[in-house]
Amino acid sequence: MPRPERFIIDGKRLDGRAPDQLRPIKIEVDYLKRADGSCYLEMGKNRVVAAVYGPREAHPRHIQDPTKAVIRYRYNMASFSVEERKRPGPDRRSIEISKVSKEAFEAVIMKELFPRSAIDIFVEVLQADAGSRTACINAASVALVDAGIPMKGILTSVAVAKVDGVLVLDPMKEEDNYGEADMPIAFLMRGGKIDSIALLQMDGRMTREEIREAIKLAKKGAMEIYQMQREAIMKKFVQEGEE
């Protein structure tokens, strides 16, 4: 993929979006039969599937915690999900993403209710196009609700990038690859509002003021995604109620 000369022309991005506009999102709840909770999610060209198993007995037994459930999160990319075939299995990037995502969910799942058990969250990236970790967190949140896991709220995640000196919401591949900065963030949404930050990473170069603005932009995007997560969940449960 060659580097585009400019990222923003006449106030529009390469894919025609405004700087504060999300890519199209599609969410399907209860996508898998075997998992206790699941979700399929599209965010632009990202295609991800999340599954939740548990609370179930934690194995191996030595990892059991008598005071709370153990949360495990596995972010995994399919070998065909990216342009150049990815070697299957965890690489350094996947391990880091899994770690910070796990910690974000640990902060919101009421794990004290399930001592000695494990809650497993598996996310598979079938196609990646920038922001796959945020898409996975959004899908995992919905899957956790689907599995009936008690949480303080749900996590909603989005990234903000800087291209041509402009902050853009939910960057696509070109903006992510050649941009000046990238900041994935996940918020705890509670009572329909943004409560706090559960995940925050940044690499690139931003001033203090730009970070403040980036968070503001991320909050706007998160509110929109949250509404879609909510609708998807409601749709499932309303349908079930009618049956």
Partner: protein, 265 residues
């Protein structure tokens, strides 16, 4: 089990001190521990540094060799950061391939160096698309008494600052100094409720491994952020931490410049 009880006692101590507005070692909330830097300690390496931050000790070695560039940047040198949290450095470190903690540490340091453009990678191209200099930054922990990340980041940039590119060894002309243009400084804070402690010790970490690392370049730009740990962070606290980190980073950078001699330049 003794570890558990001890850590509970330490935790209570840290928290009770904190209620009085104090840290267990008497430092201010935004104060780093004493920093000691020695460079050029490994003559077999192209660049090296030893850093002692309080009682945390780490050695970083830089090795360089010609190799293939990344296809998307055919005219740039390559930096690879790797961390070995060897079992000698802590009772909790285990031998074997890098775990999630050492991977995270290496990747956060990598981002600081990369995004601040500390190393001028355009000067490390030998033949476009074919051959560039590969720069391996290897972090070797010796003693983890807390905040291994910042100690390793300081050691990494100091090692780079006295790295000599071994061109003559590979028949590629004369040796030259690695061009280093910036000194990124990472500042890690431990979050305890709505307070934060800069440069936490291992004892302070007994309250919970909840940290945030803010890496700042010499122009006060933020070049990397990493929230680490299972906690929720308020926006107002984040704002406060960023301001403090920018302020503290300047002091550390001065200290690096004072102690870290460059090999040439």
């Amino acid at each position: 089990m003794t570890e558990d009880i001890l850590s509970e006692i330490k935790k209570d101590y840290v928290l009770s001190k904190l209620r009085d507005g104090e840290r267990i070692d008497g430092r201010k909330f935004d104060e780093f521990r004493k920093l000691e830097i020695k460079t050029g300690i490994i003559s077999k390496a192209e660049g090296s540094a030893y850093v002692k931050l309080g009682n945390t000790q780490v050695v970083v070695g830089v090795k360089m060799q010609p190799g293939e560039p990344f296809p998307d940047v055919p005219d740039r040198g390559v930096i690879i950061v790797n961390a070995e949290l060897v079992p000698l450095a802590s009772p909790t470190f285990e031998p074997g391939p890098p775990d999630e903690n050492s991977i995270e540490l290496a990747r956060v340091i990598d981002r600081g160096i990369r995004e601040s453009e500390a190393v001028d990678l355009s000067k490390l191209c030998i033949e476009v698309g074919k051959k560039v200099w590969l720069t391996f930054i290897d972090i070797h922990a010796l003693d983890d008494d807390g905040n291994l990340l910042d100690a390793s980041a300081i050691a990494s940039i100091c090692a780079l600052m006295n790295t000599i590119v071994p061109a003559s060894r590979f028949g590629l002309g004369e040796d030259f100094c690695l061009p280093v243009n910036d000194i990124p400084v990472s500042v890690t804070s431990l979050i305890i409720g709505n307070k934060f402690l800069v440069d936490p010790t291992r004892d302070e970490m007994s309250v919970g491994e909840r940290t945030i690392t803010i890496t700042v370049d010499r122009n006060d730009n933020i070049v990397a952020i990493q929230k680490s740990g299972d906690y929720l962070l308020s926006e107002s606290l984040l704002e406060e931490i960023m301001d403090t980190s920018i302020r503290v980073s300047k002091k550390i950078r001065e200290e690096i410049l004072r102690q870290c001699s460059k090999a040439c330049q």
